[in-house]
C-alpha cells in the first residue's frame, strides 16, 4: 500500500480483556517495528521484525504482550489481560531493510489508540 495502515484507529476495552492491533506495512518493506507512545512522551520501542522473525523483542513490557508476523507482511500486536496502564497509542512503522545498512528511516502509521477502562 501507499503507507503504513493500522487498525483499529481507536479501541476501548475493559480491564482484563484481550486486544489485537493490526499493522499493514508498506509493500516490500522487510523491517517492521512496534512502538508505544503515552501522552506527552516520545514513542517507546517494543519489538522489531526482520521478515517473519522477531529480531528484538526487548521492549515488550511483560509476557502479556506478544506480536506476530507470520508471512513477513502484516503484523498483529496482542495484549492479554489488559490493564489501565496499557492505555496508549500503539504505533507501527516499517522500513526497507532495517539495520546494518546505514541510515534507517522509519515510516509510521497513524497509530491505534488503546483505552483500557
Amino acid at each position: 500500500g501507499a503507507g503504513v495502515s493500522q487498525t483499529p484507529s481507536n479501541k476501548v476495552t475493559e480491564k482484563g480483556k484481550y486486544v489485537e492491533l493490526r499493522c499493514d506495512p508498506i509493500s516490500g518493506h522487510t523491517a517492521l517495528y512496534w512502538y508505544r507512545q503515552s501522552l506527552g512522551q516520545g514513542p517507546e520501542f517494543l519489538i522489531y521484525f526482520q521478515g517473519t522473525g522477531a529480531a528484538d523483542d526487548s521492549g515488550l513490557p511483560n509476557d502479556r504482550f506478544f506480536a506476530v508476523r507470520p508471512e513477513g507482511s502484516v503484523s498483529t500486536l496482542k495484549i492479554q489481560r489488559t490493564e489501565r496502564g496499557d492505555s496508549a497509542v500503539y504505533l507501527c512503522a516499517s522500513s526497507y531493510r532495517g539495520g546494518g545498512s546505514g541510515a534507517n528511516v522509519l515510516t509510521f502509521g497513524a497509530g491505534s489508540r488503546l483505552t483500557v477502562l
Binding site: P43, D56, N104, V105, F108, A110
Partner: protein, 111 residues
C-alpha cells in the same frame, strides 16, 4: 542511565521568525540522529537525518546540527509558517535499527 532531553517548554513564535529546538543526550554514542515531525492524531514523519561525522545538514527551511562532543543536536526552522506548527521529535539510532526518542517539543507559529 541513558537520557534524551528536548526543550521542556513549548515554543511559541511569530511567523517569519526562526525556531530553534534542542536535543541533548547522555550515555549514548549514536552513529546518527534523526528528526521527526508529529501532528496531533498522526504518526511521526521523518524530516532529516545527520551522521556523527556531519556538523550540519539542511533541507529547504530546516537546518540540523550535531555536536558529538557536547552531545547535542539543534534543529532550526527558518522563516517559520503557521503550517510548521507541530511536535518535533529527535531520535537517536541505537543498535542500528532501534530508535530512542525524546519527548518532543511542541512548536506553535502565530500568524
Amino acid at each position: 542511565s541513558q537520557k534524551i532531553e528536548q526543550n521542556s517548554e513549548a515554543l511559541n513564535i511569530q511567523e517569519g521568525k526562526t525556531a530553534t529546538l534542542t536535543c541533548n543526550y547522555t550515555n549514548y554514542s549514536p552513529a546518527y540522529l534523526q528528526w521527526y515531525r508529529q501532528d496531533p492524531g498522526r504518526g511521526p514523519v521523518f524530516l532529516l537525518l545527520i551522521r556523527e561525522n556531519e556538523k550540519e545538514k539542511r533541507k529547504e527551511r530546516l537546518k540540523v546540527t550535531f555536536d558529538t562532543t557536547l552531545k547535542q543536536s539543534l534543529f532550526h526552522i527558518t522563516a517559520s509558517q503557521p503550517a510548521d506548527s507541530a511536535t518535533y521529535l529527535c531520535a537517536l539510532v541505537v543498535n542500528d535499527y532501534k530508535l530512542s526518542f525524546g519527548a518532543g517539543t511542541t512548536v506553535t507559529v502565530r500568524a
